[in-house]
Amino acid sequence: MKKLINNPANVVNEMLEGIVSAHPDYVKRVVGFDVLQRTHSSKKVGLISGGGSGHEPSHGGFVGKGMLDAAVAGDVFTSPTPDQVFEGIKAADNGKGVLLVIKNYTGDILNFEMAAELAEADGIKVEQVVVNDDIAVEDSTYTTGRRGTAGTVFIHKIAGAAAERGQNITSVKKVAEKVISNVRTMGMSLSSCTIPAVGKPGFVLAEDEMEIGLGIHGEPGIRKEKIKSADEITSELVKKIINDLQLQKNDEVAVMINGLGATPLMELYIVNNKVNAIIKEMGVNIHKTIVGNYMTALEMAGCSITVIKLDAELKELLDDVADTPAYKQF
């Protein structure tokens, strides 16, 4: 394992301190906990997310105006514990209730659920939504359901805007659910990643292999195969998304090309070039495109493509102001 770290046991703490020193105008640390909260809170519905670390800038990078009020960081690829999430809920609460944005993983759901029970016992109104945008795994009764991946960033952005506008918790939750039902993601990887405390990669890909439909924790994907050209890979991913979303001519979408940590922007833009061509050719209008590292998996190489189908409401909220360390919209 070759990593720029000091001690695997300290990576989360040292990272959080580093984030706070870099962005003091945006975030501060809840003392004694692995929770980042907004430096300047406002009287509105609170939005909180979190999960295992290793997905930076998710989720601490999205704490700020128009997005999250607090983010809870677990150990690398491990859900934070209920007491940590409970502190996050308290930090995000301004008396108007708190919406928990949870990615669909058993660990995250169980820990956030226990935290919600603690918060409710404390008199805080809590609602939760579960993001399941990854269409690599089928949503059937035989699985735990689709995973939550990069599409989560659109929930933060759009539901965050609804909260910032002063909507109540019921309507913020409704907006979040609308985003979830209209957002889809599909990813692929070129290399694995190593959890610092484990010291070796979660799986191995040969020099000429890629994995289609990977998870963002180095968990195996749906299929290992020989590497192809960027255009061929992109076509496969994006066509699966288009079918799942049942996109039609004249629909309007926003697109995110997300890097998994070790893929250069050059390659992400090459992917976007093809995504753009395929979607436009269908007569679908791309309202907004975001390219960069938003939901990473440590040093994994590869990308995910996220498409969200927009209506007038979602489009307007997507265009609202957001000012956070990792996502800005002016």
């Binding site: 150990d75 514990t81 007491d83 993983y105 660990g107 659920e113 795994v137 959890i195 998870g215 968990e219």
Partner: protein, 215 residues
């Protein structure tokens, strides 16, 4: 008699067992999950062990509650809430008792399993920890019902748990992260079922050692 000292010793031994099997559990998890099971179990039970060093309570329920809260607040992942809820429900089932009878132990075991089922919304046959725990409970109950000693009953529970672990190799995961692999999960044993087997084996060993000391 099953008292505070035995419970504390059991958890200290479990911490040791988890540490010894950390690599194995992580490897099993890497094959079908996210490679953190060994790390999380070791982290959780080490924290429990350290906490128990200074525990003053005599009452079994209070000790189990401390175990539960410590495990929940240090472990994370799915294991934290699942094992934590199991210990919490076990604690509630024996409130106020300084020592546990065989019937108390059965009730405690049953409550722990029900806690896991409630939290994880899972059943037997879904390639989870329940696939070693439920057969172990059934074997232990059956054994005690026909008048076997606690040691014999725990021996049978341990064997049943191991058979349960073997059984998880033959089935498709439908709960947890392994479910994403569907038929690709066949052939792999479930890490959670494995750690439950290790826990039962450790409990059994602690009691057997105590018995041999008495003899």
């Amino acid at each position: 008699m099953f008292n505070k000292d035995i419970i504390v010793e059991i958890f200290k031994e479990i911490a040791k067992t988890m540490d010894e099997n950390k690599a194995l559990l992580t490897e099993l998890d890497a094959a079908i999950g996210d490679a953190d099971h060994g790390i999380n179990m070791t982290k959780g039970f080490t924290a429990v062990k350290n906490k128990l060093e200074s525990i003053a309570e005599e009452d079994c329920s209070a000790i189990l509650k401390t175990v539960a809260m410590t495990f929940i607040s240090t472990t994370g992942g799915a294991s934290g809430p699942l094992f934590g809820t199991a210990f919490l429900k076990a604690s509630s089932s024996v409130v106020g008792k300084d020592a546990l009878s065989n019937d108390d132990l059965l009730l405690l075991f049953e409550s722990a399993i029900k806690g896991i089922q409630m939290r994880g919304k899972a059943q037997k046959g879904e390639k989870t920890m329940l696939d070693s725990l439920i057969p172990a409970y059934d074997a232990m109950k059956k054994s005690l019902d026909i008048g076997d000693s606690l040691i014999d009953a725990l021996n049978k529970a341990e064997i049943a748990a191991l058979e349960g672990v073997e059984f998880t190799k033959t089935i498709i995961a439908t709960k947890g992260r392994a479910s994403y692999l569907s038929e690709r999960s066949i052939g792999h044993q479930d890490p959670g079922a494995t750690s439950c087997y290790l826990i039962l084996k450790t409990i059994n060993n602690v009691l057997k050692n105590r018995e041999s000391l008495v003899e």
